[in-house]
């Protein structure tokens, strides 16, 4: 290994400049770079390139014929004008907001309730806690299909239950009524996200010092006061991270909706992701699809400064000091 030719090596540290250490330091720089190179190459190819190319595509006038050419004629802002005027694209953006807000609300309330439940000692707690993560492990398309099965008007478990307890007299057209269909994707996604919220909030609750809880108890705080004034403020950072990650997961949802409603009926459950898929891969209008993708990307990346701020622990530990 000839390390003298390694151009990427940084200049030597001025503080400790004995030649022997210098060589060791160089050797380590080289090794570190070699270990990191595949990851950097992968990030550039699988993330940076598609993102940049997606921006390029959104300004191009694409057609099925241009796919083979890699580039297409410049289109200016035409693709963006299209998606902000196209009623379905606009509806998809609105649906995405509603879907995300509704999902986060439901996931947080149920997840927090379960996390509180699991922090009480009761028989069967360990088993229950380990089974909670089951929804998270299934392929998302399977989850979508299962809910499609359960929400069927005829022979679906949900209608069967509702009619047998007398809450409904006729089969409810969950998947054929545009308003109700939106609720089905919301319910399915809440079901999907609850384990994640439960697990993260549960582990945060475990970290609340017992002394603090006892002190509040001695001071005569009721259960609700203890929760609101003592526990929530302590675990607030975790709540923030959990909601942020929940947001990021939810704006990405695709498989679930494709499996459950396919975006229908009458595009009532089209989200940005599913409609972008339609634009790009059903009608081969990649430019318009890419423009819609960029709206989604901006929406998702709005969170990234906040996310980086909340993850600053990971960033600050920038080196483990092997030199």
């Amino acid at each position: 290994m000839n390390m003298e030719t390694e151009a990427g090596a940084a200049p030597p540290e001025p503080a400790d400049g004995t030649p022997r250490r210098l060589t060791g330091w160089r050797r380590q720089q080289l090794a570190g770079w070699l270990f990191l190179t595949p990851a950097i190459a992968y990030l550039l190819f699988a993330f940076a390139l598609p993102i940049v190319y997606n921006v390029m595509l959104s300004f191009e006038q694409t057609s099925p014929a241009t796919i083979a050419n890699f580039t297409a004629p410049y289109a200016g802002l035409a693709n963006y004008r299209f998606i902000f005027h196209d009623p379905t694209s606009r509806a998809a953006i609105v649906h995405t907001f509603e879907f995300t807000a509704g999902s986060l609300l439901g996931q947080f309330i149920i997840g927090f309730a379960l996390a509180l439940l699991f922090s009480i000692r009761f028989p069967g707690r360990t088993v229950a806690r380990s089974l909670v993560i089951v929804p998270w492990l299934l392929p998302l398309i399977v989850t979508g299909v299962i809910f499609r099965f359960m929400f069927q008007a005829e022979g679906g478990a949900i209608n069967q239950l509702l009619t047998s307890v007398g809450l409904a007299h006729h089969p409810i057209q969950w998947l054929n009524d545009p308003h109700l269909a939106f609720w089905t994707i919301l319910v399915a996604n809440i079901w999907l996200g609850v384990p994640f919220f439960t697990l993260l909030l549960y582990s945060a609750l475990q970290d609340v010092p017992v002394e603090v809880k006892e002190a509040a108890l001695i001071d005569g705080a009721g259960p609700w006061q203890r929760l609101r004034l003592v526990i929530v403020p302590i675990i607030l950072p975790v709540i923030e991270v959990t909601l942020l990650l929940g947001f990021v997961f939810t704006v990405k949802v695709f498989d679930l909706v494709i499996g459950l409603t396919g975006g229908g009926p009458a595009n009532a459950t089209q989200l940005i992701t599913t409609w972008s898929y339609n634009l790009s891969f059903q009608i081969f209008s990649f430019g318009e699809g890419a423009a819609l993708n960029n709206v989604l990307l901006v929406l998702a990346l709005i969170c990234s400064p906040l996310y980086l701020l909340l993850s600053r622990g990971q960033l600050r530990r920038s080196s483990g000091a092997a030199g």
Partner: protein
């Protein structure tokens, strides 16, 4: 009621609440398993049976041997080949993730590199990028590179689910290894590569398993890249197979259910075999620094 009795009643009440929650959480999984054993007549009878009704293995036979011939479906025959395809894709994703992530995580935790902060920030942001954005561009890029309809292309795309996560989780783990280990190896004359291969990797076994399990499940369960990168001919993973059973007007529910059960198997196996790794992996990398 004495205080002790009250405390006991409270605990059993909690158990009851947990059981109720679990019924709701597990019911969909139960429904698909029961449904997979129902006959076509039962599935289309307009009634959902809470317990198996006239159980049969017909759906599994259809799924394993191919459609019985009464539908016009030709693309979606047997799913047994698809299961194999999904296994290959899952294993490929796990291997790629490990090959890229283990050395990278080591470099990002144990070496003082100037790019560390930039790379770690990029990884955090990469986790946010929606797959449809990547899929749209990668479709054209792969078309150009002749990687559509190939295992290589699919595995590279599926790696986007697993690799940023894998690097961050492994990095958090490597921080827990004392630097003295590396010093000692160097003093004993080990090269950097030897230190990594003979000291670090064996110690990181549990974290490596966690990451491999997650990468496998990501590749196995991927739908969006399979849908966009593969166009019906040649390789078809099970997720795509399930999707092709869903018709616009008529759905072959029996086949959907049975292949859905097949698709759930790895998750079930992992839950039993690798439970502790999964629980660790779910929380690691997202909250704890």
């Amino acid at each position: 009621m004495t205080r002790r009795q009250k405390a006991r009643a409270k605990r059993w009440l909690c158990t009851l609440a947990a059981v109720a929650a679990l019924v709701m959480i597990l019911f969909p999984v139960y429904a698909i398993i029961v449904g997979s054993f129902e006959s076509t007549e039962t599935l289309f009878s307009g009634t959902f049976y809470w317990l198996p009704h006239a159980a049969t293995l017909d759906n599994y036979r259809t799924v394993l041997q191919g459609a019985s011939g009464n539908t016009q479906e030709t693309v979606t025959g047997a799913q047994s080949g698809n299961v194999l395809t999904s296994l290959v894709v899952g294993l490929g994703t796990a291997l790629l993730a490990l090959a890229v992530a283990v050395p990278a995580a080591y470099a990002l935790s144990k070496y003082r590199l100037r790019v560390t902060v930039v790379v770690v920030s990029s990884l955090l942001v990469a986790q946010i990028v929606p797959s449809i954005v990547l899929a749209t561009s990668l479709f054209i890029v792969f078309h150009w590179l002749h990687l559509l309809n190939s295992y290589v292309g699919l595995v590279i795309a599926d790696g986007t689910y697993a690799i940023p996560f894998a690097i961050l989780v492994l990095r958090a783990f490597f921080f827990s290894l004392p630097n003295e280990l590396m010093y000692a190896a160097r003093v004993d004359g080990a090269s950097e590569l030897q230190t990594f291969r003979l000291i670090v990797i064996p110690l990181a076994r549990s974290a490596v398993i966690t990451v491999a399990v997650f990468a496998f499940l990501a590749g196995w369960g991927d739908f969006i890249f399979a849908l966009t990168m593969l166009n019906g001919t040649g390789i078809e993973p099970i997720t795509l197979g399930i999707y092709s059973y869903l018709g616009n007007f008529s759905t072959d529910w029996g086949a959907v259910m049975a292949s859905g059960v097949f698709a759930m198997v790895p998750a079930g196996v992992m839950l039993v075999v690798a439970q502790r790794y999964i629980a660790a992996g779910l929380t690691a990398g997202s909250v704890k620094g």
